[in-house]
């Protein structure tokens, strides 16, 4: 009993400490003149952080604070918010990509895929892909680099990797990096670039897409799963109501952090539609297979793909 109470007290302290980093002032009103006066009217370019506008330089730290705050309860919260459907989406995503070669390699270059999982801190997608490559395609060479801007999410992923057979093997490694600028990854070195429920939070999405184009080998695939726009108005109504009423509440009750989940639903609302995002992928230079995206659960999430073209010499 006493240990329980100490633990919960500690957890409360722990979370509030995390939150302090995220919120410099306890005051966060979206349509308030005070806030507008606070913002410096300098020449700093603005971007959106949920429904509020913040200077571009500030978005990174704010998003960082959100994810530091949610890292520990990430999986439990995802299950509650999506009613478990996020696991189906992620399984489908990995299965449709079919990572790993089931055929013997002809050249050294074909030996295993080099996968870069951006914003995959907790390793959700990375472990699934390694499992698929190993168990389905019997490919022991395919390797995943998990890259995340947030050290807390990476720490969570490292902790989870202890339970997988990939811990401390060359098939899995963790890198803390900003996806808009990755000088440590050479040009044309990656087979598959994935970003799952992450690109929404990037300050400059187009820069991240251009960087993806740079690091991918010709013929390499950019695959992205992200929340998108629901096309059925009835489902959309229910979905919006769930997003804006239930999710911040669940966040408050379960993770003790309402603001981070308020940001989450606002950032979903601000993300471009399927067609707009496909245009951005094309603008980065990718070829689009078929219609370019696949809607999941009526468009709540969508899988986008692009292939880097081969330049014939």
């Amino acid at each position: 009993m006493s240990t329980m109470s100490t633990r919960s007290a500690w957890r409360a302290l722990h979370y509030s400490a995390k939150r302090r980093a995220f919120q410099p002032s306890p005051y966060r009103c979206f349509s308030c003149a005070n806030r507008a006066q606070e913002q410096k009217p300098d020449n700093d370019r603005m971007t959106h952080f949920g429904f509020t506008n913040v200077p571009e330089s500030e978005k990174e730290t704010r998003v960082g604070a959100v994810f530091s705050s949610v890292a520990a309860s990430y999986d439990r919260m995802n299950d509650l918010m999506s009613l478990g459907i996020h696991r189906l989406w992620k399984d489908h995503f990995v299965r449709s990509l079919n990572p790993g070669s089931c055929l013997p390699a002809m050249t050294a270059d074909q030996r295993g895929w080099n996968i870069l999982d951006i914003a995959g801190g907790t390793g959700d997608i990375a472990f699934r892909m390694l499992d698929h490559a190993t168990n389905v395609n019997h490919d022991m060479e395919t390797r995943v680099t998990i890259s995340d801007i947030n050290a807390d999410m990476l720490a969570e992923g490292r902790k989870r990797s202890l339970d997988t057979p990939y811990y401390n093997t060359p098939r899995l490694n963790f890198v803390e990096a900003n996806a808009e600028h990755m000088p440590h990854i050479p040009d044309s070195s990656v087979d598959l670039y994935t970003v799952v429920f992450g690109i929404r939070n990037f300050t400059d999405k187009q820069a991240a897409l251009n960087e993806a184009y740079r690091v991918l080998k010709p013929g390499g695939v950019f695959a992205c799963m992200e929340f998108s726009k629901v096309d059925n108005p009835i489902l959309d109504g229910i979905y919006k109501r769930w997003n804006f009423s239930a999710i911040p509440l669940i966040g408050q009750v379960v993770a003790g952090d309402r603001d981070s989940y308020q940001y989450l639903v606002e950032s979903i609302e601000r993300f471009p539609s399927q067609e707009e995002f496909r245009g951005m992928i094309q603008k980065a230079g990718f070829m689009i297979p078929g219609q370019g995206f696949e809607n999941l659960t009526g468009g709540i999430a969508a899988i986008h793909k692009g292939i880097k073209p081969i330049v014939k010499a």
């Binding site: 990509l97 079919n98 990572p99 070669s101 089931c102 055929l103 002809m106 074909q110 895929w113 087979d191 598959l192 080998k217 013929g219 390499g220 695939v221 695959a223 070829m287 297979p289 078929g290 219609q291 696949e294 793909k305 292939i307 073209p309 081969i310």
Partner: protein, 290 residues
Amino acid sequence: MSYLARTLPKRVFTPSLAQSTRQTRALSTLQSTPTRTKHLTPRTNKPRHPLPHRTYHSALHARLPDHSYTNSQTAILTSALSHVPAHGFSATALTLGARDAGFLDVSVQLLPRGEFDLILFWLASRRGLLRGKVEEGGLFRRIAAEKGKDVHELSVEERVRGLLLERLRMNVEVRDVWQDALAQMSLLANIPISLTELHALTSDILTLSGDDAVDATWYTRRLAVSAIYASAEVVMTRDPTPDLVETAAFVERRFEDRKALADKLTGIGQCAGFGWNTAIGLGRSWGLKI
């Protein structure tokens, strides 16, 4: 003209009709003065505004491409086809094709439907080849020579049969794996596209054979040829003869059946017509006001 205007209901008498009536009247009154008629001619012959999009078929329209795959997709699919006899219409064949075309293993993501894209590409490209053979002109000459006839003596029916068999012979190299392909095509999600492709093939076969029916038989002919082709494909997968002799015999029998069925239907139709006419006549002779 004025009589016509009077008898027509108001809403039919649209401005365009009014204009044409006026023009006709002008022409009729001016017929005696050829110089002015000449002056009028360009106006009446003025080309109408071309419609932006026509939904009907015409032999004058440019032909649609056989398939809508991009260059990179076609490169992968073309090299994958060479692996089909060994590996079937499978993901393995696609991956090998991607490697041959200089792509990575992961590049098969270019084809969202996977193996089914390979099957569709096979169907569409063979259809294009068939058309190419006919347009070269050699195919019908060969079919005619086999029957000991001149090309011009070939009937539409004989041409249809010849083309159908020619298309079936194109499948010889993949016939061992074709049942897998048929299974893929019969999956619920794939049925609409498969049927569209079957229709495109039969439509091509009939058009190339010179079938120019524009009545209800347009549909029945396509249905009949589709049914014969689809069933012959199944027979082909179990045909052990090297030159598909058994399949050819099967196709012959089906065409005979079709003819017999058509004769029967015509007979039934005629019989019903006679019966109806007799009943009417009988009724009239009894004084009914029919």
